[in-house]
């Protein structure tokens, strides 16, 4: 019997939502880690019962939780993220050098073949990995040691490494994205990195086509064509057909090209989903209408998907890690809002229904397809 498990991180705890393959009746379990910010929960592709959760608090710091039974029970694991060597400095808001300072884990990306091997993206931006199931974490410091690293400057939301993608056909190749710094690619499992920002154009930085400084909000790829990348930037929806070496804009007819999430249909590599947000100052949907936009042509031509979503008086946001797709035959699409709703579509976005309406503000949504 197939089913899905939706892993939801919120401002005040984690929730695990489950349904069978029909995806019409849901059970809601949680909150786990009640009262703590759960930035991300993600399962291992190699062992779906192995989950990792980033648990953090402005008062009490960072915790990492691990489950071996699909989220029924959890155990704390290693939580020390120490920058490699003498960390040095990056640029602060006032232009002065500022020491790197660990704040929290934004994202876990378990490796494709080993449940004990996981990458972690943190703030201040760096990538770490564990090879012992989270007991110890080691920085892949080649990223922060990139020749541009000392120029990276946080944006208003902090300098977070929020996106980690593993090329499913080549585990040597990793992509990361960092708010207010840009996007980077490694072809040697994270030892060395290159910027992949050619073609990005950001009017909010002094040189709009600079190598770094672009505020990338999210990158997504389809496993069948891992060289094709889709990016939701601070403004602009972008596409690369050569693993990030060159980008071009595909915003097309979107009502606004500001937004946070972007994802790709599980079975159609040219079908892409975004949730347009009004502007960088107005983090809510245009006209108070919550609309997912879908392109079936790899960008530029977008159609609004509205059935089952509120079409008036809706002023929530959808944060960067809060959309995911399942891999059932009729692809499911899921997203969570800062208003605490988690919406699901069991038909690639044609119709939507809330799984749950009144959670704390949703920070992240991941989906596991269980067969």
């Amino acid at each position: 019997m197939s089913g899905v498990r939706v892993l939801v991180g919120t401002k005040k705890g984690a929730f695990v939502l489950t349904a069978d393959g029909k995806r019409d009746k849901w059970s809601v379990n949680g909150p786990f880690f009640s009262g703590w910010e759960i930035y991300h929960v993600k399962g291992s592709p190699a062992d779906p019962n192995r989950l990792y959760a980033s648990q953090s608090s402005g008062w009490f710091g960072q915790q990492v939780q691990r489950s071996n039974d699909g989220g029924k029970t959890w155990e704390p694991t290693g939580k020390e993220f120490r920058y490699d060597g003498t960390p040095g400095t990056h640029q602060w808001y006032d232009g002065t050098p500022h020491p790197w300072d660990f704040k929290r884990v934004w994202h876990f990306e378990p490796s494709l073949d080993n449940p004990d091997h996981v990458y972690a993206g943190i703030e201040d931006a760096a990538i770490f990995e564990t090879r012992d199931g989270g007991a110890t974490w080691k920085e892949l410091s080649g990223l922060r040691d990139h020749r541009t690293g000392s120029q990276w400057t946080p944006g208003a939301g902090g300098m977070c490494l929020h996106t980690i993608l593993i090329d499913p056909t080549n585990p040597d190749r990793l992509y990361v994205a960092i708010s207010a710094a840009g996007a980077f690619r490694s072809d040697d499992r994270g030892k060395t990195w290159k910027t992949i920002t050619k073609g990005l154009n950001s009017k909010y930085i002094p040189d709009p086509t600079a190598e770094v400084g672009h505020c990338v909000h999210r990158i997504a790829l389809h496993k069948s064509r891992p060289d094709v990348l889709f990016m939701q930037k601070h403004w602009d929806v972008m596409r690369s057909d050569d693993a990030g070496d060159q980008w071009h804009e595909i915003s097309g007819n979107l009502p606004t090209d500001f937004g946070f999430v972007i994802d790709v249909h599980a079975h159609e590599p040219e079908t892409v989903f975004v949730v347009p947000i009004t502007s960088d100052q107005e983090h809510f949907p245009p006209e108070g209408k919550l609309r997912v936009y879908r392109s079936r042509s790899g960008g530029n031509e977008w159609e609004p998907l509205t059935k089952g979503l509120p079409q008036k008086d809706c002023y929530v946001n959808v944060l960067r890690d809060a959309m995911a797709v399942d891999a059932l035959d009729d692809c499911g699409v899921y997203f969570g809002t800062t208003g605490g709703q988690v919406y699901a579509s069991a038909n690639a976005g044609n119709t939507w229904a809330p799984i749950v309406r009144d959670l704390p503000a949703v920070l992240s949504v991941e989906v596991q397809t269980l067969r």
């Binding site: 008062w59 710091g61 704390p76």
Partner: protein, 98 residues
């Protein structure tokens, strides 16, 4: 036995009741209490004070006997009433304001 009260976030983390009792060797200081607490509940390491420097996390406070002891040295002896177990040592999450 020394009595320690923990804030809700740490009770959730360590799956504890509001008050914990600990054997703490004399002299009873904040450092000795935290050492004993973290030894029994390793998940609390790093949540009250920094892993490396031992500095109290900025939004954590230490109170006892109606006094704010947050800015006292970690090795300063605590009031006798705490050492005798008559009063708890309070670990507080600072108010968030608003």
């Amino acid at each position: 036995m020394i009595r320690v009260e923990l804030p809700a976030g740490l009770r959730v983390l360590a799956n504890l009741d509001r008050e914990v009792t600990l054997e703490v060797p004399a002299p009873v200081t904040p450092r000795a209490i935290l050492d004993a607490l973290e030894s029994r509940y390793p998940v609390l390491r790093g949540a009250i004070r920094d892993f490396i420097t031992d500095r109290r996390r900025p939004l954590v406070r230490f109170y006892a006997c109606r006094q704010d002891l947050s800015h006292e040295p970690l090795d300063a002896p605590l009031p006798d009433a705490v050492a005798r177990g008559e009063e708890p040592f309070l670990v507080i999450g600072a108010i968030a304001g608003g």
